[in-house]
Symmetry: none
DNA sequence: GATGAATGAGTCTTCATTCAT
DNA sequence: TATGAATGAAGACTCATTCAT
């Protein structure tokens, strides 16, 4: 009757709620690791469950199935990061050149160089097999990230920091592709590449950034000194 | 009675032989189409067989299994093309700039812009799941194609057409990555991209080529100091 | 609130557990029957499952595959019996002649004259096709049963009950072979043998035992002379 | 019309006949080796054909199928030998003891110690799977060989060489079983038996023969008593 | 007679998902 | 909420047998 010590027997609704959220998080966490490591198909739901400390049936109490878990994983990681970055951009005042460099490096540090890279590669690999998932990723990650870059670039143009660019999408590609290629490479052929010839590094990423940003500001030619650095 | 041409003396071992060769080709053809369209795992051997106009067991008369079929497909397409290109390079005398442009456009025309693109994407997607297959592709396609480019680039440097480049692999990446990205894109998210913002075209490929080749030869010009790097 | 017996605290993990144990037994039981009746290769896993009242996939929850099931069957029957017999021997004090007779008759009653005989025949029949299985049987059944007999025989010799025997293995063969032959016969040609000429019976088994045991003790007679050999 | 030089184009019927017989023999020969070595199921018809120097379809021109080939193999080997032995017995005049020893040793030399042993083991192993085959073997090999022995034994009794025996079948078993066990052992567990404890040898076979024959004639000695039984 | 390409029934095995407890 | 036993659809691969040539 005394609930003083009985908290474990009859947890408050909120407590359950918290537990529920935790469970969700634990499952997402577990799934993230396995998906990134082994890919989507090769990851068994049983593995996810066990890694989350629950049993086979439990994930179905929180998610509609394997695909839904992947969706949740993407949301909890990539899309979250994207949200942060978007917020950062909204508040930002200052050099777009600096901003772009910062965004790219953040993405590298928090995604490209982490296990999350495997998630991006996974989406590419499975896109054809799971159209609904692919659309979700396309709309929520790809489109949004491109939109973000586009906005920054156009802001830069409007404010005179960048010269007008005839094909914004090409610029976005030029910025993002190397990073994406690296993520894909790491999770496909990197293991066979003893000399690591194909591996991107942060160093190389920065070189690419310098190059593209230099080109964007190059029009400044007469305007000022040597940009890039 | 006199069988003038002796057609009966050769009871067509050739006929069967021919059929056998054709079968191999037909199966490879069928497999190519299905692999490119649906990926490796999603393609059932039964589908391949039916698409080739035979039944389930027949492909096993010609190949050791699904992986072997994929290997044969890669050999019959990508590796063949690569061989042609290698031969072309061996005999070539002339501007390396022209040669590189020609190679890249050939690859675009014969692979990048065809269904074969799906094969490249497939290998990336399944590399993690089929290590033996991945190694084969890595050694026979990736390594060889990079070696080819490296040779051409170094020739160009030796003969003074290109300026010395500190990181050949980075240049190779710069040349190949856009094309590869395009192939991957086409077979993953392109279908969701109504505005086709992410799509490479031959036009864009040429732009990239111009850019990189210009950078490679730029130093040779008397024009000015050290660009890029 | 006070749950007197606490029946709710243990929400029947035991219930499932019990079911699980039962399942294993049911599958082994079903497999035993089918293996003995139809042999190993001719028994489909689907049959086993159905005979156990479950569906195709279920046996895989309990065993690694068909061979593993057979192993389990052998363990649960022959090896278990062997264990009992070994225990019986360890504790035994008394006439080895009596002991050997008892062991042989036990084996006859619990194996030779039951469906388990089919299991022994099966192992002989499939030994060449499943080496790993055969080695298991060889090591766990054949070697152990021979070792057991050898120990008893040598004990008998040491204690003067049996005369020294130049070739223990030959004696073991003489004791075991008739029983084994019978088991093999029952599950191969017995069905075609209307007159049952080739069939061993318990009676004939006892005759053989008498014969061999008599020979083993015969030397004890004052007659000496040249026994057997 | 002139067949002078046309012998190859139009061979005489007899020539074809000969060829046909040869083919049959070659296939039987090839099948024998493979059956003995690998068992019935594990031997592919394709293997037999190739070993016989023909192709897959050819055996079907001479036999109704795999089972029929095995039948032919048994006929051409075991049943043939049996026929010889039967003939030998018919003409024989002299000691039955000597005759039995001779028969057993012949069987050992020509079957037990040769690859043909594998055939006997095969029949035991597959009897349950191929009833029609098993009946054939039972009737043509087992029954006949037992009848042969029985006749010799009874002749011996009639002529006073052997003492009357209450259970002729038991005696036949005693004579044949060791040899059969050896054949089975060689093709099942012998390979796992490093110490070769279970292996019969010609030596051991002779010992058994001595033993049984001694028992059969023992009564004839002045010693009288009631032996064996 | 001989070939050998093709057939297709047969079986093991995996795993996402369900549901009684 | 959590369990975990059970399901059953799906798919790769084998090989005896057939038959057009």
């Amino acid at each position: 009757m005394n609930t003083g010590s009985g908290s474990m027997e009859a947890p408050s609704p909120r407590r359950w709620q918290r537990r529920k959220d935790e469970r969700t998080g634990e499952i997402i966490e577990a799934a993230l690791g396995l998906f990134c490591e082994k890919g989507f198909s090769a990851t068994k739901l049983d593995d996810i469950a066990r890694a989350a400390g629950v049993t086979k049936g439990t994930p179905y109490l929180y998610f509609d199935g394997k695909e839904a878990i992947l969706k949740a994983v993407v949301r909890a990681t990539l899309i979250d990061r994207l949200g942060e970055i978007e917020a950062e951009c909204r508040d930002y005042r200052g050099s777009r050149t600096v901003l772009i460099r910062r965004l790219m490096l953040k993405w590298w540090d928090e995604v490209g160089s982490t296990e999350l890279a495997g998630l991006c590669k996974l989406m590419v690999a499975e896109a054809a097999n799971f159209p609904e998932l692919a659309r979700f990723y396309h709309d929520e990650v790809i489109v949004r990230s491109r939109a973000l870059m586009r906005a920054v670039l156009l802001d830069g143009v409007r404010e005179g920091e960048f010269r007008p660019m005839p094909d914004t999408d090409a610029v976005i590609d030029a910025l993002q592709a190397p990073l994406l290629m690296n993520m894909i490479w790491q999770h496909s052929f990197a293991r066979f590449d003893e000399s690591a010839t194909g591996s991107y590094t942060k160093q190389r990423l920065e070189t690419t950034l310098d190059l593209v940003l230099a080109a964007l500001t190059a029009a400044g030619t007469t305007r000022q000194g040597n940009p890039t650095t």
